[in-house]
Amino acid sequence: MALLQIAEPGQAPKPHQRRLAVGIDLGTTNSLVAALRSGISEPLPDANGQVILPSAVRYHAHRVEVGQSAKDAAAADPLNTIISVKRLMGRGISDVKHLGGQLPYRFTGGESHMPFIETVQGPKSPVEVSADILKVLRQRAEETLGGELVGAVITVPAYFDDAQRQATKDAAKLAGLTVLRLLNEPTAAAVAYGLDQNAEGVVAIYDLGGGTFDISILRLTGGVFEVMATGGDSALGGDDFDHAIATWIIAEAGLSDDLDPAAQRRLMQTACAAKEALTDADSIDVVHGDWQGLLTRAAFDSLIEPMIARSLKACRRAVRDCGLELDEVEAVVMVGGSTRVPRVREAVAELFGRQPLTEIDPDQVVAIGAAIQADTLAGNKRDGGELLLLDVIPLSLGLETMGGLMEKVIPRNTTIPVARAQEFTTYKDGQSAMMIHVLQGERELISDCRSLARFDLRGIPAMVAGAAKIRVTFQVDADGLLSVSARELASGVESSIQVKPSYGLTDGEITRMLKDSFQYASDDMVARALREQQVDAQRLLEAVEGALQADGDRLLDAEERMVIDLQMEELRELMKGNDGPAIELQTKRLSQVTDAFAARRLDSTVKAALAGRNLNEIEE
């Protein structure tokens, strides 16, 4: 049994200690935090024994209320109570208008294109609202586990685009969490099921949550989870079932569809309760105000049929993308609260010709899988061998070319990490700059794709049209986040950006929010920063020491070794003091001088893997 290790603040845990890491499912309707305890991954309960935290945030003038009590206040205080904020993550103001009357909030624009919601506490971006949910989960985890977290794996719908992923990462940053990885929700669920049932073969994960739908097809082979294709709809979920019932009530009761926010919330609550009751009942009496009507399961089924059909279409596409037929899928796993709806289960069973698996609670399975991965990523050894998750990008990435067309650079369902380059040329004599417009989507016209970022490559030397060679390189990391760089090959002029999505927060906004956050009173902020710098420095020192011990003699000559030793000594000296920025700088310097060593070590593990040797044998 693993002992619970408690690290004093400011003191980095010793390498042999179990490092605390959690998996967080930041859902549209509900959120959870899970951790591996005594070898078992399980959700962590709050003081009342509840594991589910409703994703509802209510702003009061001087405090923030999160969870069930906030959700209960949704009808009484609709403007200051934010629910289903996940639907707004990474969205622009125009997208929000498109979601239209479904949302009772008052929106304002910020410095960026991100919509801010007016509350009694001032304007709040969806990122801040999500951060408030994450803070509660982080606190719960630290209290339950009894120590500071090394980091968290936060799950996102597989179908989230770059902007939505970046927004989620920003929210974690605001909540003071180190993101070990953004993990796709269906992949997390596959981990929970795959390990539980020792599964091998082709598995489909059907994940219908409160606001998003994902389908992923994976191949499981000896601890390797290889995503073959993924698809979905980042605006389809149980919320839409509620809306369908609400629309039905409006029509049946002859209500005006121009309801005030409070009435709208009450109506949605009635609708949601009706949906849940129909999971077990064949028909129910719906009471709304002084109106009463009968809703049968059959009538409900036909209300939601178009939405289910949309999800099934995405399933067929994902299977086609793998080059498989439906009957080649060997198991189907149900994830997400909305898969409790009987008609959903039935339709999925009909499509794949087999009964879907529902053994693990569909509300908890994602967090459970994320916690397993978090534990591995934090550097804790796992019993029964290491896991490997090979995920893909859900949507193609490309560039705008002549005539407003999108040229794909990386097609959807490409395994990440991935780097691809494409060459372009100038089309005018003496052209000195080129605009790079990065897009995501499947359609040919750029107006049908999502615009991720624009930047300029400047300083191209004067040449005749077509003579310049501009290479644009896309790199997608293991979080599914994109960075793009452009280089003119003849002159070497370079320009690169970490893609800051057009719909993301600006750096200035993030800094302001970090400052505003009451958790970061200024003294506290300096102290916290110093502690983080010390922890980072300590971690690097330990890692380099370990690496030197293992491979120093083999891979470094005397001079290289001396340079590294000197920089390490300097960092140890600095750590005795309190000069945070100096520690940070020296950490960076040490990291730089160990760059080449790191590359050599990695390559030697590759060679060893090739030779068929066990990696652990070489390292230890």
Binding site: L388, T594, L602, A608
Partner: protein, 172 residues
């Protein structure tokens, strides 16, 4: 690593007829050793190297897994990069037009059963091409023919992508 040859990376002999299961097994072994997840807790320098190595490993795997890409890669290894437009193939041009016309008819008639038959025929044609290529790519005297076959493979690959798109449209 840094080696120019994808085959060596997977410890395989360069050739067109590959044991794809063995390739996949080797890929998973290598991915395990370089994937960024293994380095989530490591210094930034190692994380960066892992990201680059994983990306090039994935690229090498995709190149060898896919028949037309593998064919093109083999020809590039053999010497000059394929000559692009200089190799003529009038005979295949006619066939291309036929395939395309058929596909258009299937779309107009929204004929799903017809699409299934088309897919099977396409697969047979691809397998035949693979065999022909495997027999001649290594022979310097048949270089032009090998290039021609590689280009035919590329066309059929693109066509099968179009069939998938058609299936998607018909699924609406």
């Amino acid at each position: 690593m840094g080696t120019p040859c994808h085959f060596a990376l997977f410890d395989l002999q360069p050739g067109f007829n590959l044991d794809l299961d063995l390739l996949a097994t080797r890929y998973r072994e290598l991915a395990r050793s370089v994937h960024p997840d293994r380095f989530a807790d490591a210094p930034e320098a190692e994380q960066r190297v892992a990201l680059e190595r994983s990306a090039s490993l994935n690229d090498a795997y995709q190149t060898l897994k896919n028949a037309p890409k593998r064919a093109r890669y083999l020809l590039a290894l053999k010497g000059e990069v394929p000559l692009e437009v200089t190799v003529q193939d009038p005979e295949f041009l006619m066939q291309q037009m036929q395939w395309r016309e058929e596909l258009e008819d299937l779309q107009d008639e929204a004929d799903l059963a017809g699409v299934a038959v088309f897919k099977r025929r396409l697969k047979v044609a691809q397998e035949e091409l693979n065999e022909s290529f495997a027999a001649c790519w290594d022979d310097a005297a048949q270089r032009e023919q090998a290039e021609r076959l590689m280009r035919r493979m590329q066309f059929l690959d693109k066509l099968s992508y179009e069939v998938r798109q058609l299936e998607e449209r018909l699924d609406d």
